[in-house]
Point group: C2
Chain length 352, copies 2
């Protein structure tokens, strides 16, 4: 099947052949072969005008917080409301071990077989940057295929939350009702990425969940205006002349809510909050602004990765590197001089 046929098949009405085409398109995107990469770029560019119409929801949380149950419950709830739901996963553990924390086949049993859902596990090789790139591209394919809610899920390991927050319209952090958990999230800088914090398993210990909710709420408030530019702008707007246009612009304040994915309680309220967020972000222009910033940040991130790759694989650099590293760690060559020498080696070689 050529790129054009594949494009047509992805864009076709929801059907089993369409789902096969999506899987095929994503496999093409994940291929490391140069000719495949060329075709993938063509396909993506052709699909691009048909993308961007979904709401992109990022969900993260440590293992055991109940992400799968939450996503299955939410996904079925959304399908029931007439949506089509795609679920993509970024699993940094798979890039290290080849295995996967999130790859378990038995996850989301009911959602995975539903004809209005599409679930794709994490690409299982490459760096986090590479995996995130594939997921971002897979998201575009799902959008072109008419899935109007795309959920990108990740486990709270390494920098994967930042990657997911950087490709979604809204980032939701799932927390367990205990305090150590939120200190971790604060420490890792994940809390400040969250547009919404959900305390899951609230049914197990209502008191602990309520305490956690209060703690996280005050933590979000305490560092809100440092971490969150939207907050600073909202403060600014609040001090603007009453009646002036700036004073009318409202911004989202991160919230904390309780939920039990297992019992299904709170899912309705959760979706109401998400819908409010979406309306507000559309009204104040932040949805578009966020997507534009994300696309540019993504472009620069890929450029940086490409520059580093080219540098490290440059024959002249590879030749010089071992002795340079030895000289730097041995204390006979200043690190900054070493850097300049290696950069010059790459330039020199390329020019001749």
């Amino acid at each position: 099947m050529g790129v054009l046929d594949l494009q047509q098949a992805v864009l076709a009405a929801a059907s089993l052949p369409q789902r096969r085409a999506i899987a095929k398109a994503i496999t093409l995107l994940e291929s490391t072969r140069d000719d495949h990469r060329k075709q993938a770029d063509e396909l993506l560019t052709a699909l691009l005008p048909h993308t961007g119409k979904s709401f992109r929801l990022g969900i993260s949380g440590v293992p055991g917080v109940g992400k799968s149950t939450f996503i299955e419950t939410l996904g079925l709830f959304l399908i029931d409301k007439g949506h089509r739901v795609a679920v993509l996963t970024i699993d940094p553990s798979s890039t290290v071990s080849g295995g996967s924390i999130l790859g378990d086949k038995t996850r989301m049993e009911r959602l995975s077989v539903h004809e209005r859902a599409y679930i794709r596990p994490s690409p299982s090789s490459g760096t986090l940057g590479g995996v995130a790139e594939k997921t971002r591209e897979a998201m575009l394919v799902c959008e072109a295929a008419g899935y109007d809610i795309v959920i990108v899920e990740t486990v709270g390991v390494g920098q994967s939350e930042t990657a997911v927050a950087g490709m979604t319209d809204m980032f939701v952090l799932l927390q367990l009702p205990n305090a150590g958990d939120d200190l971790q999230a604060i420490k890792k800088g994940v809390m400040e990425l969250a547009d919404l914090v959900v305390i899951n398993k609230a049914d197990i210990d209502k008191d602990a969940a309520t305490r956690a909710q209060a703690q996280i709420t005050s933590a979000l408030r305490l560092f809100g205006h440092h971490g969150n530019p939207a907050h600073a702008q909202a403060m600014h707007a609040a001090h603007a002349t009453p009646g002036s246009p700036e004073a009318e612009i409202r911004f989202w304040q991160p919230r904390v809510m309780q939920l039990s994915a297992l019992l299904g309680t709170g899912v309705d309220a959760f979706w109401t909050a998400v819908s409010e967020f979406k309306s507000l972000q559309i009204a104040n222009g932040r949805l578009t602004m966020r997507r534009e910033k994300q696309a540019l940040a993504w472009m620069w991130e890929r450029i940086d990765a490409g520059l580093k790759h080219a540098f490290r694989h440059h024959p002249h650099v590879r030749e010089l590197l071992p002795q340079t590293i030895a000289a730097v760690t041995g204390g006979t060559l200043p690190a900054s001089t070493a850097a300049r020498n290696l950069l010059a080696a790459q330039d020199h070689h390329t020019n001749i």
Copy 2:
């Protein structure tokens, strides 16, 4: 004065001419002229065998925490014990505004005029990476000149704490006795960089200082084994067979202490803790390991900065960039395709 003369003058016995030579050498390092940079590289390489003998102490804290008073008190205390003390500053605010939070001339009045002290304010232009590079190199000059304690100070803005922790043997975080302050430090990931947390101004509110000490101690413990590889290894060692060599290796556990720089109370205990840290790090090999890692990290950081700079200033890239950015934000070109196109533009142009 040629590079050789300058080298000799820096290495000369402590004297006024030596101090002038140090200032001259650092000015040379800070110059952006290409011929100066060449001379600076020569000078650094010549001085390198004479460096590395000082203890490098990083100190950070938000404005108002009392860094200047602390460093002046500590500096005079150390001089009194026979040390020679150099104080260097990384001030990220100076890179943005040209002005400087830390640049106030009246700071450290007594230390700055002492013949056994050398104080150099932050380089006032360039990116944080550039400023940090100059400071790192200035540190080497001070070491070659026989200063056996080098203090690198920064204000808690942006990534400057990471830069300072990345060039010193020990990183000390100054905190005020109130809780919001340490949540900020946890959130920004600075707390986990700290080998020692000092609660300054403990005399003003003893109760608050004691509460803060307890809070920070438990925070450090709670995420200690995630943030701090030394901790994990210490845990490992503790589980090793008793009497085996691994069980003998001891690692530093971050501590929290109270101090009043203004009254001078606690400075003695502070220096005892620093000395313990130093002995331990020498005994378990971590001082050397940390410096080697820092030098290599520094080399790679400078390489990355150089690669980005070359890319952004490449004529073909500059030509393509505006339309590429417009296409990416306009949604007609996938970000990853844009990155590949720009990378290809740079390669192509260089090869012809």
